[in-house]
């Protein structure tokens, strides 16, 4: 995340251009040094993807930004569920769609995912899930390969940028061939590492024309139509499995017959680094698995070991098919793999791993508006239910003022739950803090819950509106009134929304300019058994310069 992945966007020549690598790739067959995210964007562009949708989330954010920089049409949606639903519409219209998110975003989008799996698409639908083993910037390290299995959605796993490019093209082909969605599962190292990409290495089928045909039995998933859709999905998956065995994007490296390693994703590269002599079956399409390939491979070597990051997904797949393989010890379920850890797995070394000197943790920028907010909440001895964003740094010293954080939007619901249950003296100290982008993502329904089921002690929601999605690298959202490309569009105004929902105590304060007034307002709200929304509004320091520039550009008359 962050400014690192920044690419130059429409209308803003003044913005620092880091898109030179993309520029050089505009030529066919050019070789370029790209991140996995940029490579996915390039493939989507080359495939004529009609629309890219998503919600910012490390390490996926740069895909849509790069796609837009190349000239593709890309949009931030309020959340991943909406993003996937829009993309489904595109695929129902016979066009190609890509939808991007981080791993936890797929939890939000899981509802449409599980059902669109059984429908018949006319175009292509590629769902990119960027997982974060080791949790470089996430709240859990869920392994979304489990989603492919659970939802019955084909899955490809690239290991470097070249494969990120090629597998995106493959995903579109597979999606169109079986008229079903495909999951492109990436990880932090694949998304953010840069490696060489040669464009034009795979033939790209031309996109079809957008059109609509009525096909209710395939798409209107009422029980009558959904019942036959399920066996249809299983039949498709059986065909895909047979194809994957026959011609899937898997790679066999014939080496020693003493040691064979089954692997996927970035683990493949660590394996090649550490065990260059071993035979390797590298699986590119990891759902449905190429089980017969795996069986033949395991039978061809004396020792067959599965090396994979995260959950024991490939191991369980192999064992369910009665293929005898050796897995990794439990301790390697946690965190990323690297060459040293792969060596330990190979050598059966279970001794404690060396502890490293801890690095310096991140902190609020000097002058960050969140500082004033946490100062006030700490002074008032609040019980703070937090949310996802920069302001989660409020859990660290020197503030240590955010008591819990679970998922996008949870601050409001958790705050209400505490208010319903705690003794009155404690209940009235509960505050929910939520960022502007997070509020749009999943906080609005929480506010509705608050109006519908108000606690006896009332409640106080603080929306930390810094005018950007700061944590993921300063993306726009519906509350900024600017599109992904920073052009002017419709704007959701939080104070108007809150008042429309029937909340009478709504305040907008700049916490940096008026810290005393901010604290006093929170104090007054806490003292009343009523519902209050306090909007702490001041631009993020990192974003302020850009926001002014966008506003200046957007005020200029268009030609």
């Amino acid at each position: 995340m962050g400014l690192h992945g920044r690419v130059h966007l429409i209308r803003l020549d003044t913005r620092i251009s880091q898109g030179s690598s993309l520029d050089s790739l505009r030529q066919q067959n050019a070789l370029s040094l790209l991140s996995g995210d940029e490579a996915v964007a390039m493939a989507a562009y080359d495939c004529g993807v009609r629309l890219g949708t998503g919600y910012p989330g490390t390490p996926s954010t740069e895909i849509l930004e790069s796609f837009a920089a190349l000239g593709g049409r890309a949009q931030w949606s309020p959340n991943e569920k909406v993003a996937l639903e829009v993309a489904i519409g595109v695929a129902f219209a016979g066009a190609r769609a890509i939808v991007t998110m981080k791993h936890v975003g797929l939890n939000v989008a899981a509802d449409p995912l599980f059902t669109v799996a059984s429908t018949r698409l006319d175009g292509a639908l590629v769902v990119v899930s960027a997982d974060d083993p080791g949790m470089a910037s996430s709240q859990n390290e869920q392994d979304n390969r489990r989603y492919a299995l659970a939802a019955g959605v084909a899955m490809l796993e690239p290991s470097d940028s070249q494969e990120a490019y090629e597998f995106t093209v493959r995903a579109i082909e597979i999606s169109e061939r079986w008229q079903a969605p495909v999951l492109l599962r990436m990880t932090t190292r694949v998304c953010h590492s840069k490696s060489l990409v040669r464009r034009g290495t795979v033939a790209i089928p031309p996109p079809g024309e957008a059109h609509f045909e009525h096909d209710l039995p395939s798409r209107a998933m009422i029980p009558t139509y959904a019942r036959p859709a399920h066996p249809r999905l299983r039949k498709k998956l059986a065909e895909m499995a047979a194809w994957n065995d026959e011609a899937g994007p898997n790679q066999l490296i014939s080496g020693s017959t003493k040691l064979g390693i089954i692997t996927s994703g970035v683990s493949f590269l660590h394996v090649r680094e550490v065990a260059p002599e071993a035979s390797v079956l590298k699986i590119g399409m990891t759902y449905p698995l190429p089980v017969e390939r795996m069986r033949a491979f395991a039978a061809s070597v004396e020792r067959c070991l599965v090396i994979e990051e995260g959950e024991p997904y490939l191991v369980e797949g192999a064992r369910a098919a009665c293929i005898a393989v050796e897995g990794k010890p439990e301790s390697f379920r946690f965190g990323e793999l690297n060459s040293a850890r792969v060596r330990r797995i190979l050598e059966g070394d279970n001794s404690p791993e060396p502890k490293r000197v801890a690095g310096k943790p991140p902190a609020f920028c000097p002058g960050c508006p969140h500082r004033s907010v946490y100062t006030a909440l700490k002074n008032l001895d609040c019980i703070v239910q937090g949310d996802i964003g920069c302001y989660a740094l409020g859990a660290l010293p020197p503030f240590e003022a955010m008591d819990s954080m679970i998922c996008m939007g949870a601050s409001i619901g958790m705050g209400l739950g505490l208010r319903y249950s705690l003794p009155p003296e404690q209940a009235k100290r509960v505050v929910s803090v939520i960022g502007d982008s997070t509020f749009v993502h999943s906080g609005i329904t929480g506010l509705v819950e608050m109006v519908y089921n108000p606690p006896e002690s009332g409640h106080v929601v603080v929306i930390l509106d810094n005018g950007t999605t700061a944590m993921t690298g300063l993306q726009e959202h519906p509350g900024t009134g600017r599109t992904l490309a920073h052009t002017k569009t419709g704007k959701v105004v939080f104070e108007e929304l809150a008042r429309t929902l029937g909340i009478r105590n709504v305040y907008v304060i700049d916490p940096t300019a008026e810290p005393a007034k901010f604290q006093e307002t929170i104090q007054n709200c806490l003292a009343r058994p009523e519902l209050s929304v306090v909007i702490s509004r001041r631009n993020c320091l990192l974003a302020n310069r850009w926001i002014r520039e966008y506003e200046r550009c957007n005020e200029q008359p268009t030609e």
């Binding site: 040094l33 090649r272 490293r356």
Partner: protein, 168 residues
Amino acid sequence: MSSQPNNAASSRPTNVVIAGLGGQGVLKASDILADVAFSAGLDVKKSELHGMSQRGGSVSSDVRFGERVFSPMVPEGEADFLVVIAADQVPVNAWVLRPGGVLIEASMIDESSLPNKRSINVALLGVLSRHLPFSVEAWNAAIGRNLTEKLHEANLRAFSMGRAIGQR
């Protein structure tokens, strides 16, 4: 399915780790280094975690180049060069350096003599450049490609100051 003989690289890649704190230009420096190696026709991989790095926390970036590079991460104890922009980040990253590897530190540069203090990252690349087989022209071109024009002058000077130190 593609099938290929086992032809793992025989020659070992060069491993560089650049480290510092968020905002010091660690990623910019590694971009420039990766670009130089790429322009020389080598296989290159570059990897880092950019998570919360902007907010002043520890940041490090791995750059590997050679005939063939597999893992994008420099294996522990195998860095040939460790370039550290913030003095207090040396102990945090020292484990990655191989025995006999070269440590390049901010203290090697007299910051007050830089045209722009923020160019310390590029000055340290200048020191590093003495150890690597790329021409000054190639370095200058990579600096040009990775920085906006108004920063060129200061950074090219910082680079050549670092390179002069590397020579001593």
